[in-house]
Every structure is written in C-alpha cells, then in structure tokens.
C-alpha cells in the first residue's frame, strides 16, 4: 500500500514541455528521501488542461500543480511529500480559495465537463493493464461474451443512439448490423479502428490512445464478437510515437492476460489485433482509402457502394470506427443504452470530446455533453480569449468544416445544428479565432492543406481545389475582383458535387462558410484592397505617426530592409517601396508611433 500517489501527465503536450524529465527526477528524489515504498509515481494520459502543462496531481489530497519545472521537484518532495506542506506557489490558481484548496472537479474548466470517453485519461497508468482492469476494464467484454448474444450487443449500441465520432455521424449500431448481416456466411470479417487523426489542431484520438489504450482494444473485441470477426487492425498515424508505443504495450499485455488471442475468457471466442502505421497522408482518414493503405497500396479512395460493411478490407465485410467512438462502447455495455441516451440532444446522444486550441486561455482537451453551447465551451470551460481580444469565430471540422461566427455563439453543439449553420462536428478540433485573424487567409490556409493532401485520383478535387486556392491567393494579394467571388462560389459547389470521396466533397466548406459569414472581409480585400485584420502582407502598409515619433532611431536600426530613414530626434519615415512588411519596427517602437492598416 502506498500512502500517496503522484500523477504526472505523460501526454504529448506535457511530454513536449519536459514531463518525462520531471518523472525521472521525482523518482530519484523520492528514493533519496527513502519514500519509494510509501509514494508511487504514476505516468498517466492527458488531464486535458494542456495550457498549464506539465501537470502533476498529488493524491489523496488532490493537489493540482501546474507548469511544474524540473527545478521545482526537490521542493515538492521535501515540502509536500515529506512534511505534508503544499507548495502553494505551484498550485493551479483556480483551485485556490479563501478557505483552502478546492477540488479540481469544481473548477470552471472541469465542472461543466462530463468525461465518458476520457474517463480514464489522467487517472490510470496507460502502460499497466491491471490499472485498467482495476477501474472496470474488460468487464464489458466479459459481460458480452458470457451474457449477451451478438444481436443483443448490436441492439444495445443501436438503442444508445451512438453516432460515429470521426465526423460523419453515422449511427454506429447500424454499421455493425449491416456488417453482421449483409454477407451471410462470410468466411472472414474485419474490425478496423481509424486512428489516423489528420485534422490539424485535433488531438482527441491521440489522447485516448495515449491515456487509455485498452478501452479501444476492449471495444474492438466487443465489435468483433458482435459482427462475427476475429481479426482487428488499428491504423494509427506514425506521427504519434507515444500512442504507437502504448498501443504496442497494451496489445502485448492484453494477449498475456488472455483478453486478446484464442479462446477469450474460455468462451471459444478468438480475437486478435494488428497495428498498422500510416505514413503521412491525410486522405487515409477516409474509410476506403484507409483500407487500401492497410492492404499496402497508395491510399486512394474508391467509389461506394459497395460499402465496407459488404466489401471492405481485402474484399471482406469490415467495420471501421473511430477511436473516440470505440472509447464509448464498454461504458454503454456496462451502464446500458438508456444511461448513454439520457445525455445529449434529441438526435445526438452522449458526449463529445473537443480539442480546444487557438486564441483561448485554456487550450486543451474537454469532453462535454452534446447540446452544450459554444459560449459555455469558450467562455466558461475555455476561460475566454486572452489579451482582452474579441471573439471572431470558432472553426470546427478542420479542413472539411467551417467557421461559427459570434451570431451563433449560443447554438447548442450537436451534429445537426452544426451542419445547419454550414459547419460540421468533424472529429472535434475547435480552433478559436479573434479579431487578429483574417478569414480569407484562414480559408486560403485550409485550401493549401487540401491541395497538398488531395490524392489526385479524381479531377474535381485535384484540379478544382488548386484553382480555388489560386483565386483565394489572388484575393489576399489584392488582385481579386468581385467576379472572382462569384466564380469561387460556383467552383465550390462543383467540387462538392463531383468529387469522389469526402476529402473533395468537403474541401470547399471553409471557403463557403467564410464567404457566408464574413463576406464583408472578402469585399474589403477585393474592393478596398485592405485586410481588416492586418494579416495579408501584400495589403498592409506600415506608417509612422510624426506626432508620436521621437526620432529615437531604434526602428531604423531594426529594419532588415533599411526602409526607414530620418535624423535623430526628428520624425522618421518608411519607404514603402523598400518595406518588406515584417512588422519588426512596430514591435520595436516604444512610443506606439507605428501603425499598420
């Protein structure tokens, strides 16, 4: 028995800011203090509050230390762990109250959340199957194999109302039912997991894999039993080395404990899982492309039908679900379909994990019941926008999604509402933008992404997105015309209607949604030749206010293009022909004399 547990986040965010060194130092210091039999250090998955990493929690008291540095460790050990005195300067300030320390669960960041898929993230060690079993892990698999028929399993998932969390929102139970029944007497079926999380700015799936890998394995085995498959594949991005490593450990442990392999729980059910690494192609997140890639080919999509449920991997009936979808399955089996469907809105049940990023105070991972408003997510959970800036838009759905402007701040987030306002749920990236972000530039940014990632198989996507990008580029350079705006819209609909797969069909969404809500910004670029947010360099002009300039010469010395001239103590001027618009002068000026417009 340990008297105390110290949990340190080993997710990617915290690891990037040195949490592994913190763990090593902590273990060393604890040993030096002779406490190694009293205090255990646990490396967990993501706590969610990535903005404050590296994060450490000391139990049983639940003290939440944030932004811990390696040099703080000796003090934490000698003060807190030895003497029982909390190191108050490192405690997360939201948990500090007049009467002492309040629970993390009561802070604004956590109190509105409901962790189902992330239940174990930041709680257990992902590299130890016994900790997973200790929190009820593999119980659902046991229940399914010993007490339920495959049809009962599928009915439970159908009744729960669970929809695909990868973005499409297709009912999961329906997928399973099709795969079970569509090809009678199939000799081989497959269960696949889509862990090719390619949306830039989305890291929900990686956090589940890093923090709770066994939940995915358990759910895949349940799916295997339900549809009649005995082989699974997880297709995971090679860019996620920590997730890959923990999955490897988890699969080996599960085999060792008899949770995978032959004759699971002595029921005669066989199921095993193989790992396949992606190689950096966004299109492989599309289901048919993913399967072609597992087969060892160029990851190009193919037309549907036939759907994977009928003809999928290696031509056999296959189901493919996303990581977060799987993470919900064992809880649904154990707690029942009604428990799950009691959360959320009429057509979107349960919770959704979002990766909050961009211009927001609490960047990190949050799980909220469907139907929570954007305002709650950004203002209350996310802590609002830093530096007193104004909210402009939130981007969901990555390169396939759209922007949600301030006028829809109070819309309850669910699949259908987001589609009705021209965005989509997507896999869960939620990037907040403030007044300093140019919406034309953002649309161009996403198009550059799709141009780069288009696989080239079908013409509307390969050539259409490129032409679309060129027109946007023209606009950001101040060379666009109003006619271009009409052409852009026409081309958008053409690409949407004629592309082969989801990548092309959704690629124009960022353009259409910014055109819908921020048309005035496009007009400003085209007609007035200005960028209201001050982002598009070709449209910017830096100038010095002669009344404010003291002639200190600092800007002239800093300018890399020698574009600023003037004599000491006299107002300086910028030569617009030489200016490269880097903004160095504006940052240097101590008197606020330089402005851009």
């Amino acid at each position: 028995m340990y008297r105390s547990h110290v949990l340190v986040c080993g997710g990617t965010g915290c690891t990037s800011s040195g949490s592994q060194q913190i763990i090593d130092t902590l273990k060393r210091e604890i040993k030096a203090a002779g406490l190694e039999n009293e205090i255990e250090v646990v490396k967990t998955g993501c706590f969610g509050l990535c903005a404050l990493g590296p994060i450490m929690i000391v139990y049983p008291e639940g003290t939440f230390y944030s932004m811990v540095q390696e040099k703080d460790i000796p003090e934490i050990v000698s003060e807190h762990l030895v003497k029982g005195r909390i190191v108050s300067r490192l405690v997360y300030d939201e948990t500090v109250t007049e009467n002492g320390i309040k629970s993390l669960q009561d802070t604004a960041f956590y109190s509105k959340q409901n962790r189902v898929a992330l239940r174990n993230c930041g709680v257990i060690s992902p590299e130890n199957i016994e900790e997973y079993i200790g929190t009820g892990g593999y119980e659902a698999l046991g229940k399914v194999l010993t007490e339920m028929t495959p049809d009962e399993v599928i009915q439970t998932i159908l009744d729960s109302g669970l929809r695909g969390r990868g973005g499409g929102g297709f009912p999961t139970g329906m997928k399973w039912k099709l795969a079970r029944n569509i090809v009678p007497n199939a000799d081989q079926k497959y269960v696949c997991c889509n862990a090719d999380e390619g949306d830039p700015g989305a890291f929900m799936d990686r956090s589940v894999l890093e923090g709770d890998p066994h939940v995915v394995l358990e759910a895949m085995a349940i799916a295997g039993y339900a549809i009649g498959a005995n082989q699974g594949y997880i297709y995971v991005r090679a860019e996620y080395p920590i997730a890959v490593k923990r999955l490897e450990i988890a699969i080996n442990q599960a085999r060792e404990y008899g949770m995978l392999g032959k004759d699971i729980f002595g029921t005669g059910f066989d199921f095993d899982i193989g790992l396949r690494l992606g190689a950096g192609a966004f299109v492989c997140g599309e289901e048919t492309a993913l399967m072609t890639s597992i087969e060892g080919n160029r990851g190009e999509p193919r037309p549907r039908p036939p759907f994977p449920a009928e003809k999928g991997l290696f031509g056999k009936p296959t189901i493919l679900n996303n990581v977060e979808t799987y993470a919900n399955i064992p809880r649904i089996i154990l707690n029942g379909a009604e428990w799950f469907s009691s959360m959320g809105t009429e057509k979107s049940k349960g919770t959704k994990v979002f990766a909050l990023g961009g211009k927001i105070k609490n960047t990190g991972l949050v799980e909220i019941p469907m139907g929570t408003t954007l305002r709650t997510v950004i203002e209350e959970i996310g802590g609002g926008i830093p530096n007193g800036k104004k909210f402009k838009a939130a981007q969901t759905g990555g390169p396939s999604g759209g922007c949600i402007p301030a006028e829809h701040y109070d819309i309850p987030i669910d699949y259908d509402n987001l589609i009705s306002i021209g965005s989509m749920m997507g896999s869960g990236g939620l990037i907040v933008m403030d007044e300093d972000n140019c919406m034309v530039d953002i649309a161009k940014f996403f198009l550059a992404f799709t141009v780069d990632e288009s696989c080239g198989k079908c013409t509307p996507c390969r050539i259409g997105t490129k032409r679309l990008y060129e027109m946007l580029d023209k606009i950001t350079k101040g060379q666009g015309t109003l006619e271009d705006l009409d052409k852009i819209e026409e081309l958008c609909y053409y690409i949407k209607n004629n592309s082969l797969c989801g990548l092309g069909q959704t690629a124009p969404n960022p353009v259409l949604s910014t055109l819908r809500y921020f048309r005035d910004e496009y007009i400003a670029h085209v007609v007035d030749k200005t960028c209201p947010a001050g982002v598009c360099k070709d449209l910017l002009k830096y100038s010095i206010d002669p009344d404010k300039c003291r002639g200190c010469t600092l800007c002239a010395r800093k300018c890399p293009a020698s574009a600023i001239s003037g004599t000491v103590k006299q107002p300086h001027v910028i030569d617009q022909d030489k200016c490269v618009k880097c903004g160095a002068c504006m940052e240097t000026c101590k008197f606020g004399a330089i402005s851009k417009n």
Binding site: S16, S17, E239, A279, N297, F314, G357, G358, K359
Partner: protein
Amino acid sequence: MAAKTCSIPFAGTAEQEARLKEIIASHKGDKGALMPVLQQAQEIYGYLPIEVQTIIATEMDIPLEKIYGVVTFYSQFSLNPKGKYTISVCLGTACYVKGSGDLFDELSAKLGISGGETTPDGKFSLVDCRCIGACGLAPVLTVNDDVYGRLTVDDLDGILEKYQD
C-alpha cells in the same frame, strides 16, 4: 514530382542490406506487408532511394513501379537523404493562427532553403508538418525529437545555435 533517382550516390552497406532482407523475411505471408517493410527500410537507410526500392521489389516479388507509386504517395517516405537535424515547423491550424507561418518563413530565410530542402552542408532539413498534437504549446517546432513550444521569431536564433556541432 521528385526525380526518380537521387543526386547523392547511394552508399548502402552489405550489412544494411542483410538487415533489410531479414525484415522482409519476417513479414513473409503477412497481408499488406509493403507499408511496414518500407517504414522499417527507411529506418535502416534514412531514406528510400531507387536502389533500396529495387531490393524490396525483388525480395517481395512486387513490381518496382508499384513500390515507387507507394513511396511517392506518402509524405513520410523520402527519396532523398535528410539533413543531420530535421526542423519541422507545425503548420496545423492551432499553431498557424498563433503565427507558425512566420516562424517557417523566418527559418527558410535564415537557412536559405525552402520547405523539403536540405542545407548544402547536410546539416539542416526544413519541413512543414501537420499537427503534432502539442496544440497547448502553440506555435511549436521540433528539431529531430526535441520539441520547442510557445515560440516567437526571436527564439529561432537561440534554437539554431544549439545545433551547431
């Protein structure tokens, strides 16, 4: 499209080839083994020149043009050797809205190379990468396995200085 052959002469050793053949043998009978084989081959050689692709084609009995097609499809596979240090600037959305585009442009100017290129002395390669998932630290770049976060353009000189050996 990248040139089929690499301008730098191939310098594979017999030992590397033996390791590659071992790996291919261990995947015998595996369905869809080409991707894992290519990934491990790149770990051995650091890149996948046409000579390595030819070995794989012969050993696995897969047409060379199919292998070349797969290699050029995925951005992870490289036909050219990488520099000693690969600097990857995250151009994912969360980093981009926080200014990673400026970091990339500045590095490109400082190193005198554009994305995907390597400096003539073979020291630095510059690439843009999609989200590495450390969005809480945006904007982020990595140098080989080291991660640097919450960056501004002014931090870049200090980072480059650490890799002068």
